[in-house]
Symmetry: C2
Subunit: 368 residues, 2 copies
């Protein structure tokens, strides 16, 4: 059941029912503008990652500022975006299973869709699905550029898979997916620069070997909010797949030389108990704010520290300064925005203290 | 948007789209029966916690086996249960905010509902809401029995709050909420026994002091799956609020002298990449299976170990034995069932390899 929204346009923020997902619209728009401004001179294009926002509204705002399309991780996300009118969607991931592939392929009738593969059996499965539907779709080869998760080895194994794609009647070779996920949260700029230099070398070498085999590489995609400045400057990456930049996690802010974005996404919580001395308990635990990348940070309330999350309770220690009152509302900066958004049905868009809009998290819960 | 279910009745389990929430019906029913059988001779009644299952279907199955009602943590959960016909619901938590209290009070017209308080201001707010609606509702005093989160001190502070409730025209004193959450996952039986002995002493002392002031204490509620045997044997607890027993977390199974329940809840995942030697990647990361109480355990596949969860990927190390094939489906036992269920729209009920039923997670996403 889609839950009713926790607010109405025109309300003051402190009237919003909690826990609620607050999007600070001024900061959010500034982030979209900042990324567009940064990428414009580099030649690299933004293909923003919708796994962060799961929203056709936000996808359209990114594309209005120059993004060439969207990435998704799952077919259910691709469906929501395609149904909502997004014209260019890359599933930046493997999709295994005949039913899912059939659903993916069906989208080729209403949008430009592409997908990744790291296995010859998968290429055959995508070809079979495309043939059955009578369409032709681009397939990118995912290469492992340092994350040790999915992806074939750069160089000859990637070239062999690309040739297999190119030789498939209902497929086109779409390029390389070369995302280095584990580099995003490396703490020092030097670590991140070195990781992406190595990833870009792997990609560049593979592009060159593809060229020698007569295969053009239309897309080299990758990068996230932690490293995009390196990929964009590499000369080899053509598409930047950052997503979190729009919201800015607490954890990204812990990187040295943190990316230049403002915190735009918050979980609004209410103080629901002040019974323990020195402690305030809020109604946002780890069901309301993801803790996989650390606990949330309390926004603009020095002296308050979020120290523990249980299912529906967040425990705050009052270190100094004014203690919050029972019923007071606090903004929490999530440690990790993507899974936090995924817990909600609605964004509550706020500008200067007033609710301006409600946007559904339309691709939430699409597990498959 | 409510997502379409990942399966249809009659399918084989391996045909279910993934990630999906699998309820093994034989194990689940055995757990419900085991708890009913355990409590019958103790005199303590089950008021199962719906924060675990968020399902009116499961609530009804628990009540058919003798549960006197359900607990919830949030008004949105209480609404779903009351709308679905559950006749007796305790919000085992504080609810702060006039809009939420009005919603809670409205349920008193269709069900027996009760709520907790740990602050005199809250008692006044509940009284105001009940007066406005022209109803009378029971309010329990939450006492802190060792968790140091919510709740007033046992003894005189609890008695004072109970007297304030009893003196409020539209409230009744409903009893004591005495839940020791942090004891649930203490590893040794001795630790858990000592924690609950102390909690029961606090509750018993407070009940006696209430009696001296002429206040009867109809309910003393608490306990979870980790400790319920102690509360049920205490002679002071009248209602057992276990929830996880129905599903049985991987983390509860790590307790010494683990509670006598079977793993009934699984996340079904598909192997989506075998590109890395010695590694299988599944399509279930921490958006699909909660990791706040540890990583999931792979069910009945010795030699496979789940070693890392990113947003949509789970990384499995192949330690020995037969490696899983691309496309193979694996059952994961969640470290923590409650927040795992909260990520899904549907239970897929499976019996001996076949999908038997689909049940909505009807109270999911009710953040407020």
């Amino acid at each position: 059941m889609l839950q009713s929204p926790p607010a109405e346009p025109g309300m003051r923020e402190e009237e919003v029912d909690t826990p609620a997902l607050i999007l600070d619209l001024d900061a959010f728009e500034a982030n979209l503008d900042a990324m567009a401004g940064f990428l414009a001179p580099t030649g690299a294009k933004l293909r923003a990652h919708a796994k962060t926002h799961k929203s056709t509204v936000i996808a359209k705002l990114q594309m209005a500022r120059g993004a060439v399309g969207q990435c998704v991780q799952k077919v259910a996300e691709a469906e929501q975006l395609a149904w909502g009118g997004i014209p260019d969607i890359l599933v930046s991931n493997q999709v295994v299973g005949a039913r899912k592939l059939a659903r993916f392929i069906a989208l080729a009738r209403i949008a430009d869709v592409a997908i990744c593969a790291d296995d010859a059996a998968q290429v055959a499965a995508i070809e079979a699905a495309a043939e059955a539907a009578g369409v032709r779709v681009p397939v990118l080869v995912e290469i492992d550029v340092g994350m040790a998760r999915c992806g074939v080895e750069p160089g000859p194994p990637a070239v062999a898979l690309a040739e297999r794609i190119a030789a498939s009647k209902h497929l086109r070779f779409g390029g390389l997916q070369a995302y280095h996920g584990s580099a995003q949260h490396q703490r020092t700029p030097e670590q991140r620069a070195a990781s992406i230099a190595a990833a870009a070398d792997s990609a560049r070498r593979t592009v060159e070997q593809l060229r020698q085999r007569g295969l053009d590489c239309p897309i080299v995609g990758g990068a996230g909010t932690g490293t995009f400045r390196h990929e964009a400057a590499s000369g080899v990456y053509t598409e930047i797949q950052a997503g979190s930049y729009a919201f800015m996690d607490a954890d990204y802010a812990r990187n040295d030389d943190a990316p230049p974005f403002r915190h735009a996404l918050f979980v609004l919580a209410t103080v629901m108990s002040r019974a323990m001395p020195g402690v305030a308990v809020v109604d946002a635990g780890h069901k309301a704010v993801a803790v996989d990348s650390g606990l949330p940070v309390i926004w603009e309330r020095p002296g308050l520290r979020f120290v523990g999350a249980s299912d529906e309770h967040g425990k705050i220690v009052i270190e100094d300064g004014a203690a919050p009152a029972l019923g007071e509302k606090l903004r929490l900066v999530p440690g990790h925005c993507d899974p936090t958004v995924d817990r909600y049905d609605w964004y509550v868009g706020v500008r200067r203290g007033r609710v301006e809009c409600l946007w559904p998290v339309s691709a939430r819960g699409g597990m498959a």
